[in-house]
């Protein structure tokens, strides 16, 4: 036993002094991935951003995760009282009371109110050090959060003393090998108002909360990470009922492994048009057409077929509620309800204008990673009209890459405005798709209610005729070929 701990200690110290930086996970979904392991162990990390950007939540997630993995943490709050903090984050899924009871977490509320303090003569902040030391000892803290230590500057007037003491504080934490997250409010020209980045130079994370066209997007960027590689992009992140998550949406490389496995479209006649075998698995399929050309119905056939094979399906609906969608599909003989009941089919409905593109993409990522479907349907892609074509293109490309990377088949429907006679999809996403199906209403005088044409389908022989079909109460039925 003794030798084992000794050996472990030895390994630890050698990694600390060695070239490889030891990191500790924050437990924030995605953040640990883009930093290749989390924040630097035993060192301070600065998290900065404007008001309401999620700094406190980031810090709290870091602590609660530490509490779970045997690294108790102290939360030092300069702005909210203990009770306010516990209440405010309770709604976000953090049960701080439980962690406090189990001595995994402690909160130290430090209030420095200038109006209540008279300064006369020399002083230092030893009182702060003693309090932190005492609180950390009480739980054996390995992590600490200082939120927001810059408040000291508004409470005390002697900035020379404050700066010297802050420098001493960060050195003191490093000496104790405490992993710290220090939050700071964004200044006008600087990352933080008081230039904390000058003291905390190991790892700096910037959070941002932007509202464009009344749609809010949260972003995270690693400004600097000494001695470590890290993603340099701005990553969208979410704050919802289950806390905070960063979404690394980066893969723009074409490295997916191509499969030759084929899957049924759910319709015999359509399979036939694809050489009798259907779509490629993990390919991307675009179904475009005017209003009422059965895009959604054909997508439902495909989903139904996947569920029949026992595969999980995730459908993102941007125009109908799940109940309405299920009812409409029942009218053409497709029973989706049973798949929803047995958990194979999940329909996530949201208004496209509810969030920005990034946020939609981000939630899709998250849902896909949770549900792990083999088929994802986005119905319709054209619902995202607010953003520019370039942005939509970018989003679809990232979504396609993401799904392919996970070997998931993706079907997008797309509404062509007007009569649907024009073949061009205004999004220009067709080039990203492996298979492109055009649907249109039959012109007066021609047979059939609707026509289906395969405009392209990469890597397979396919029919190029325009196939008439009708929607009946037992699904989409093609007319017998002449």
């Amino acid at each position: 036993m003794a030798t084992r701990t000794a050996r472990r200690r030895k390994v630890r110290s050698s990694t600390r002094s060695g070239p490889a930086l030891r990191k500790v996970p924050t437990g924030i979904e995605g953040f640990d991935a883009i930093t290749d392991g989390g924040v630097p162990a035993g060192r301070p990390t600065l998290v900065c951003g404007g008001p309401g950007c999620g700094k406190t939540l980031f810090a709290l997630a870091f602590l609660t995760h530490g509490a779970k993995i045997g690294e108790p943490g102290l939360f030092v709050t300069f702005e909210e009282t203990e009770q306010d903090l516990v209440d405010n984050v309770g709604s976000l899924g953090y049960d701080l009371h439980r962690l406090i009871r189990r001595k995994r977490l402690a909160i130290e509320y430090i209030r420095v109110e200038r109006a209540e303090i008279e300064e006369t003569g020399e002083y230092d902040l030893e009182g702060l050090f003693i309090r932190l030391d005492h609180a950390m000892r009480s739980i054996g803290a390995k992590r600490i959060v200082l939120d927001t230590i810059e408040s000291l500057f508004s409470g005390l007037s002697n900035t020379a003393v404050l700066r010297a003491e802050l420098r001493r504080l960060f050195a003191w934490l490093k000496d104790r090998n405490i992993t710290a997250v220090i939050t700071g409010e964004r200044g006008t020209d600087t990352l933080t108002r008081q230039g904390l980045e000058e003291y905390v130079s190991d790892c700096v994370v910037s959070l941002d909360h932007r509202v464009t066209d009344q749609i809010s997007t949260r972003r995270l960027r690693i400004v600097k990470y000494r001695g470590s590689s890290h993603g340099t992009n701005e990553y969208p992140f979410l704050i919802d009922q289950s806390g905070i998550a960063v979404l690394p949406i980066t893969s723009l490389q074409l490295v997916h492994t191509a499969t030759s496995q084929r899957i049924s479209t759910g319709l015999d006649w359509l399979d036939e048009m694809f050489g009798g075998k259907g779509y490629y698995k993990a390919s991307s399929i675009l179904m475009s057409g005017g209003a009422g050309t059965a895009k959604t119905s054909l997508a439902a056939h495909f989903m139904d077929a996947a569920c029949r094979r026992g595969e999980r399906v995730l459908c993102f609906q941007f125009e109908e509620s799940p109940a309405q969608y299920v009812r409409n599909m029942r009218s053409i003989g497709i029973n989706l309800e049973r798949w929803m009941k047995n958990g194979l089919l999940g329909i996530h409905a949201a208004r496209p204008t509810l969030y920005g593109l990034e946020f939609h993409l981000a939630t899709m990522h998250r849902d896909v990673d949770r549900v792990k479907p083999s088929l994802v349907v986005v119905d319709p892609l054209s619902a995202f009209t607010g953003a520019s074509a370039g942005e939509i293109n970018n989003m679809v490309m990232r979504l396609v890459d993401f799904l392919k990377g996970r070997n998931i088949t993706a079907l997008f429907t797309h509404l062509i405005p007007g009569s649907g006679m024009g073949a061009e999809t205004e999004v220009g996403v067709s080039s990203l798709m492996d298979t492109w199906i055009l649907l249109r209403n039959a012109p007066p005088g021609e047979r059939g209610g609707r026509h289906l044409t395969i405009l392209k389908s990469r890597g397979m022989a396919h029919s190029s005729v325009s196939r008439p079909f009708d929607l009946t109460n037992h699904g989409a039925v093609a007319e017998v070929e002449p």
């Binding site: 008279e118 300064e119 309090r131 005390l156």
Partner: protein
């Protein structure tokens, strides 16, 4: 309501000086405090010295960050003065001792 309350709370001053070890700064703060009290509060004050190195748990209750910190616990409201108390004027202002000393003079 018109009846005057007993003046007792005002008569009794409880001052607590927080220090961290016996540093020259904390010793001079205590000396400065004692001499001010002898001049202005003779016979009606009590000084408690709290060494936070020995009683770290006491720092939290009075929200101590800087040392030395002088806390006027009585009479209310609570007042905080930080520093070595070398400037007598601002200590008196901080303790509300100046205005308190003047008023009776103006009345009489």
């Amino acid at each position: 309501m018109k009846r005057r309350r007993a003046r007792r709370p005002q008569d009794e001053w409880i001052l607590r000086l927080y220090t961290a070890g016996e540093t020259t700064r904390s010793l001079s703060a205590l000396q400065n405090l004692e001499s001010i009290c002898e001049q202005h509060l003779k016979g009606r004050y009590r000084i408690e010295v709290v060494d936070l190195l020995k009683h770290p748990q006491l720092a939290r209750g009075d929200q101590i960050v800087a040392v030395p910190t002088l806390v006027r616990r009585l009479p209310p409201p609570m007042k905080r003065i930080i520093g070595d108390l070398s400037n007598e004027n601002s200590v008196l202002v901080g303790l509300d001792l100046r205005s308190r000393a003047r008023k009776p003079k103006e009345k009489s």
